[in-house]
């Protein structure tokens, strides 16, 4: 040691020595052993260990020993989660996190984080994601969706700019309404899709998966409106599931706010107050279930999180990670950028770009003679020529899964497999097109609810009719096999409560 440590750091050094000793051990160490290794008296070590446990850097656990007895110390949940983040950060700088990060760590009991637009997103909080999936379908899921990019379009001609950028007609979007839309490049190819809420006659807010400030601004040439990025101005929680409404109603500050949230229709927005924090609530989501997204000032993030969990417990609310949400969105038939389609801004090959009609989004492009959005002319030419591929649902029945596994001595073991983003080839059956490949599945998942394998696929338009028999390539025992599949209507799961309208009495009185 070349320079003596500054005064007052002794306790910190001792704490680090204890942390190192615990981290170096494969199994929990008891107090006596730790004191010996670090060279401290047990009472001193005990005092420091207590502080480390309180901070979540160490956990006090029962030791796994043959003699059975005694408590020991192991690396704590918060320290583990921080360690898990190291790869995301390249170990150079701390990773970017959302305003809910500290709260997420308290729930986080897995090793799973995923890079979402450069921000740490929990893949699952529990070691396995299955209960989180069922929370979406059966109770209430609380999902941190803060990493979404957010933009505001403001000004006297905000509506005109929205109508120039987006394919939907925003003259029909009243304040307090949300529209799902896509936006295209000049060649009529899909750039992105997202939700746009009209906050006021002259103010819209859009969400996007990729940064798009420059594109939005460039579209505004000659229009009296400004575009501002507000990504960091809002934290967001997606509250999804049949009990999501009951959770929000319970968390609302007073009866008036509760009534407004209870009565909020599908794809509408309302301002509300949760635990003294003003929030915007939109009845939107990415799960195909009843659900809401809550837009919160970052300073209020933890307060709103706490209130939602406090009131959500009685409704089975759980923090839910990205794997479970992915499973739900496949069942909901929601195509995902970078997975099911490539943004025209990122496609290296022309053939990888998609028109909205090829992604099941033709409904977002209603031509009207007095409106001109970016890409319209090119898209209309393409429509006249027709499209060669279509987004479809693909399903493989349980009995078919059994059939393809049986020759290898296996039963399907689907619940162990999380939803897959690995592409899978789709073939025409023999006899049609000589069994050649006619498309690819881009997302697939075994649905424990629907009891079949479901997937999103891009197929040759001639094979896109629901009910068409295709063959899906799967791997069983490391062998490529072809399972009989069928083209299916999307969404696979579409519960009536997703878009129903109720009153507050029904929310509070009935069992949701």
């Amino acid at each position: 040691m070349s320079t003596p440590p500054p005064h007052g750091t002794q306790a910190i050094q001792r704490a680090f020595a204890l942390l190192r000793a615990v981290a170096d051990s494969a199994r929990p160490l008891p107090l006596a052993e730790l004191s010996r290794r670090v060279g401290l008296r047990p009472p001193t070590a005990h005092r420091i260990l207590g502080a480390l446990v309180a901070e979540g850097l160490l956990d006090r656990v029962e030791r796994v020993e043959r003699d059975g007895a005694g408590m020991g110390y192991c690396v704590g949940r918060r320290a583990r989660a921080l360690g898990a983040l190291a790869p995301l950060a390249g170990q150079q700088k701390p990773p970017r996190t959302t305003p809910f990060f500290a709260r997420e760590l308290e729930h986080h009991a897995s090793f799973g984080w995923r890079d979402w637009s450069g921000v740490a997103g929990a893949t699952s909080y529990e070691p396995t994601y299955h209960r989180e999936y069922w929370a979406i379908r059966n109770a209430a899921a609380i999902i941190d969706v803060s990493p979404l990019f957010k933009y505001e379009i403001r000004g006297p001609q905000a509506e005109a700019l929205a109508n120039r950028i987006f394919t939907r007609d925003f003259r029909k979007c009243r304040p307090g309404q949300v529209m799902y839309t896509c936006w295209l490049d000049d060649d009529g190819k899909l750039l992105q899709d997202g939700n746009v809420v009209r906050l006021a006659p002259d103010r819209f807010r859009a969400t996007a998966a990729h940064p798009t400030l420059r594109w939005f601004q460039d579209c505004g040439h000659g229009i009296d409106a400004e575009v501002a990025e507000v990504t960091e101005d809002y934290a967001a929680l997606s509250v999804q599931g049949p009990r999501s409404r009951a959770v929000l109603v319970a968390a609302a500050r007073d009866r008036a706010h509760a009534e407004r949230l209870a009565a909020l229709p599908y794809f509408r927005a309302a301002e509300a107050d949760i635990a003294g924090c003003p929030v915007l609530v939109t009845r939107t989501g990415f799960t195909g279930d009843l659900g809401y997204e809550v837009w919160i000032a970052p300073a209020d993030a933890e307060t709103v999180w706490d209130a939602l969990f406090h009131h959500g417990e009685a409704h089975g609310a759980m923090p839910v990670g990205l794997v479970a949400m992915d499973q739900a969105r496949v069942e909901a038939g929601l195509a995902l950028i970078d997975i099911d389609f490539v943004s025209a801004a990122h496609a290296l090959l022309e053939g990888r770009k998609s028109a909205p009609h090829e992604m099941g989004l033709a409904w977002t492009v209603k031509p009207s003679p007095d409106r001109d959005f970016v890409g319209r002319a090119a898209l209309e030419r393409a429509v006249a020529e027709g499209f060669r591929t279509r987004l479809v649902g693909i399903e493989v029945s349980w009995m078919e899964l059994e059939r393809v596994h049986a020759p290898y001595g296996l039963r399907p073991q689907n619940p162990h497999h999380p939803p897959s983003r690995e592409p899978g080839a789709l073939y025409a059956p023999y006899g049609a097109e000589d069994g050649r490949q006619v498309g690819q599945v881009t997302s697939q998942a075994f649905s424990p609810l629907l009891k079949k394998q479901v997937g999103l696929a891009s197929v040759d338009a001639r094979f896109a009719e629901p009910g068409t028999a295709l063959e899906l390539e799967m791997m069983v025992d490391y062998k490529r096999v072809r399972a009989s599949a069928r083209v299916a209507h999307l969404p696979f799961y579409d519960p009536p409560h997703k878009r129903d309208d109720v009153t507050i009495d029904e929310v509070q009185g009935a069992r949701a």
Binding site: E126, N138, R411
Partner: protein, 544 residues
């Protein structure tokens, strides 16, 4: 109503009766289901005795439901919604526990706290049991031959021969384990693998469910295997909660049956089966009304199906005798609790995922054996075994927000008490259950808002199963496969032309599998020369 003519009448609207009806209707038959109660379900019912608190009154979990039944009857479209239980908690004395959770590495560590050897053995055990379950799962989809009725045997000969070939080809050590499982006690099976008492007890609980045996009784290993045959999405020994309780599942199957054209009539108690010129031609209801049909299927236990419903002269004496001696004395009770707050375990005081799993009170084999000792001599267990689920933690619709319901399946509560009457003993037994639970869940007693105690005579009275046995008859070799319910009636046919059995007292037995109902319906359709397009489970092999 009586003016309508039916191809088939199904007596009893429990899950098997409904499955039979749905398969028959699916093949184009005009089907009438007759249910004695005011609701379908039999022992698969959900009731709401207190506003907002819903009990899955008798049966409570689903595992054995056959995938081919789910598929053929399109049960998902009709509302099948099975939430899997991801963990099992066995609380132990002194605030200790054995916790098996969804994550296998965590389970390993949890078992290792009791024995590192067992943690490793448990991995192997599960693999072996999966191979065994793969070997036998086809049995659930295969009709047994009738050892006396040769015609039935011939029809199934091909399927059975294929099955037999697979058994011959299976690895020797697997066949050895299989033969052990058929004959030995659960304890001797488990002793070969494990040394720690809590794990052995936890695994042995499957060997006594619904059965008047202890883990030390020969034959209990089969009951364990029977429960291993259940699966959810290919995972054996997995249990699921149907949204709305098992009554929800009965409603799902009923909807499927109705959508396929079957008619379900409630409050219709059958008095006897109508036989003219030696052939079945319908049934007679309690009020004398005749419901005529070409075939009749009874999902009731043999004492009713072969006894009460038929003129004794119609059956061979040995079959009638067997029906009347059918072992269906129940020994399982049910305590349903409405709770003011979520229960807290001494070993795990904070709410967590364990509350959405299964929990059972069986700290070691001696504990279970003592519970059985009480029952052997006609008493109820002073310290009962209990298998617990908190439905409201799996399904928020089962209780008002913040409140809970708890389902406690308990043993042993023998049907007939010696020197006492259940009417006087029922609540004392309930108290004994709560006493045991309180030890592991301090404060539980104070949180109880309402308690329902059901013992076998209640099951008999309400559901109609003679003796109140949850499986419609003990699962033991003398009552399985070709012996269920006995020669001349084992292949779903009876000696009376046109009269069939389709309930849990036929192969492959109890549990919410729908398998007996399905196999019986397929038998009827073949006899009527109405081939039906149905799924067949694929022969998987042992994987070895």
């Amino acid at each position: 109503m009586s003016a309508r003519s039916w191809d088939a009448v199904v007596v009893g609207g429990g899950h098997n009766g409904l499955v039979s009806a749905a398969y028959l209707a699916r093949a184009g038959l005009r089907v009438q289901v007759l249910e004695r109660r005011e609701r379908v379900g039999g022992a698969t019912v959900t009731e709401e005795p207190y506003p907002g608190f819903r009990y899955s009154v008798f049966s409570y979990l689903v595992s054995l439901l056959r995938p081919e039944v789910i598929h053929d009857l399109d049960l998902v479209r009709h509302g099948l919604f099975l939430v899997p239980l991801e963990s099992t908690l066995n609380p132990l004395p002194g605030g200790d526990e054995l916790y098996r959770e969804a994550d296998s590495n965590r389970t390993f560590a949890n078992v290792a706290r009791h024995s590192r050897r067992d943690a490793e053995a448990y991995v192997e055990y599960r693999l072996r049991m999966t191979q065994l379950a793969q070997l036998v799962h086809e049995l659930q989809a295969t009709a047994p031959p009738d050892l006396v009725d040769g015609a039935a045997a011939d029809e199934d000969a091909a399927a059975l021969a294929a099955l037999a070939r697979r058994y011959v080809q299976a690895p020797r050590d697997l066949i050895f384990t299989f033969l052990q499982a058929l004959t030995t006690s659960a304890e001797s099976l488990l002793d070969q693998w494990f040394e720690s008492a809590p794990l052995k007890a936890a695994l042995a609980t499957s060997s006594i469910i619904g059965s008047f045996v202890s883990p030390r009784s020969p034959g209990s290993a089969y009951v364990l295997l029977h429960h291993y045959m259940g699966e959810i999405d290919g995972v054996y020994r997995a249990w699921g909660w149907q949204k709305g309780g098992t009554g929800g599942l009965a409603e799902v199957i009923a909807r499927a049956a109705r959508s396929l054209g079957a008619d379900i009539r409630l409050d219709a108690q059958v008095q006897r089966v109508l036989v003219e010129d030696g052939e079945v031609c319908g049934v007679v209801l309690e009020d004398g009304e005749e419901v005529r049909a070409r075939v009749v299927l009874s999902s009731l236990a043999p004492q009713a199906s072969l006894g009460r419903f038929l003129d004794p002269g119609l059956l061979p004496e040995e079959l009638l005798d067997r029906a009347m001696r059918w072992q269906s004395f129940g020994c399982s009770g049910k305590v349903n609790l409405a709770l003011d707050r979520v229960p807290r375990f001494a070993s795990r005081p904070e709410p967590g995922p364990h509350l959405a799993g299964g929990m059972s009170i069986a700290p070691d084999l001696d504990y279970v054996e003592r519970a059985f000792e009480d029952a052997k001599y006609g008493g109820w267990s002073r310290r009962p075994f209990a298998d617990l689920v908190i439905p409201s933690c799996l399904d928020p619709d089962m209780a008002p927000p913040g409140k809970h319901v708890m389902s406690c399946f308990v043993q042993y509560a023998p049907y007939a008490l010696s020197g006492a009457d259940w009417a006087d003993q029922r609540e004392a037994f309930g108290d004994a259950v709560i006493d045991v639970l309180e030890e592991h869940m301090p404060g539980l007693r104070e949180s109880i808002l309402h308690r329902q105690v059901l013992v076998p005579p209640d099951i008999e009275r309400i559901v109609g199963i003679p003796g109140g046995n949850i499986f419609h008859g003990e699962l033991r070799m003398s009552q399985l496969f070709v012996n269920r319910p006995g020669a001349r009636a084992a292949a779903y046919r009876t000696p009376v032309p046109g009269y069939y059995l389709c309930g849990s007292s036929t192969h492959p037995g109890g549990g919410i599998s729908g398998a007996p109902g399905r196999l019986a319906a397929l038998r009827v359709l073949r006899d009527l020369d109405r081939p039906a397009e149905v799924s067949a489970t694929a022969a998987t092999g042992s994987g070895a």
